[in-house]
Symmetry: none
Subunit: 233 residues, 2 copies
């Protein structure tokens, strides 16, 4: 589009006054307040200039209401950094919790039982709220399971603990994963290491316990353990 004519001095003064007035008063000025501050004695002239600013895309006007002025985003950018809206400020003030569905249990004797729909949030799911500061990486594909029984003790995970997991079918060395041992009909939580192409080392979290070595074909990774939470009171 053609280059626009620069704003007149009066129009610049009007914008600046409106901006400052909004900061000080938490409301826009009236036509008469604008006129009084930029030396325009006639409400008609102020009206004319406001309409010109509207035409330039810098203001929005609501007709037939008092103080019916609002800056457009373009004008906000013009002022060199938009002032946050109240809701933005509130959002910033609050860490968004990561809401993780508690979708079931984990026990030694069976594989993890996840819902078919990939644990999308349902009204009846319990939710575990976790601060994002406590989690790393992608927080979108997480789910939580409650531990049943004391078979995870070698992972230092107790009956009733909550395990936060990410759905993941492969593991990097050292990652703690839930693995289903097919031959043993057992789910276990251990640190995973590729020993050889055919052998996997599963290292208990308890450093005083020995690892187990299993055939890679026997291992089905069911998810990565991101976090363990235990309520003791």
């Amino acid at each position: 589009m053609a280059k626009e004519k620069p704003l007149s001095g009066r129009q610049q003064n009007i914008l600046r006054f409106i901006w400052e007035y909004v900061q000080e008063n938490a409301r826009p000025p009236t036509i008469r307040e604008i006129g009084g501050n930029v030396n325009i004695s006639s409400t008609s002239v102020v009206n004319y200039n406001l309409n010109a600013l509207k035409k330039r895309g810098l203001l929005e006007r609501d007709a037939d209401v008092s103080r019916g002025l609002r800056f457009t985003e373009q004008a906000m950018e013009m002022f060199g950094g938009a002032v946050e809206t109240v809701s933005e400020a509130v959002s910033d003030a609050v860490d968004s919790l990561v809401r993780i569905p508690l979708v079931g249990t984990i026990a030694a004797g069976r594989p993890i039982d996840l819902p078919e729909t990939g644990y999308a949030l349902h009204d009846d799911d319990e939710i575990v709220d976790v601060s994002p500061a406590m989690l790393r990486g992608d927080t979108n594909s997480l789910f939580a399971l409650t531990v049943k029984g004391d078979s995870m003790i070698d992972a230092m995970v107790n009956d009733g603990d909550i395990v936060i997991m990410r759905e993941q079918k492969t593991a990097e060395n050292g990652e703690m994963v839930a693995v289903w041992l097919k031959e043993d009909d057992t789910t276990t939580l251990k640190h995973f290491y590729h020993e050889t192409p055919k052998t996997v080392r599963l290292q208990p979290a308890n450093p005083r316990m020995d690892p187990i070595y299993v055939d890679a074909a026997n291992v089905e990774i069911q998810g990565k353990v991101m976090m363990v939470m235990r309520q003791t009171a």
Copy 2:
């Protein structure tokens, strides 16, 4: 000062409406707009309630100007703090986290080392954010410690875990507490039971381990364990 009467339902609705209106319109509402939205047909009643909110320190009013309302800082804190009288949208977006100072470490070889000032929040403290749903009872006197070493394994607590505790010098049967064993120069986390007036049973969290029986005089309770959190990824 005397405890103030709670805001009436109408007054809460008025505040909520004003808040939402300001966010949407970048200006305060008129008396009539307020009335129309909280089912008050008389401008006089709206005026009466606005004056009551002003009296409570939640609003400022400029006389004889249109849209002469402004929230006070007290009201802003209220909205920012996500309590009962704010809008549902803000309230829903904000779940008050319990902010717990991470004040130090816990290790077997020494008692818990707490700051003299009772772990009041300082700018340089690390904070652990926990959803209140994960905690029971008083959330005001909590602190967090990072576990050093693997000596807490019998409590199924690993090196690097975070323990959320409440300062407490006595224990009910079954509560998990941090105890300092004076004769052994050891801190341990165990479930506490009064066996006899002179004897205490300390039961490991690991059900496969045996309890220890110690002289009550040898035991110094340093806090109750509310929660254990482990980051594994």
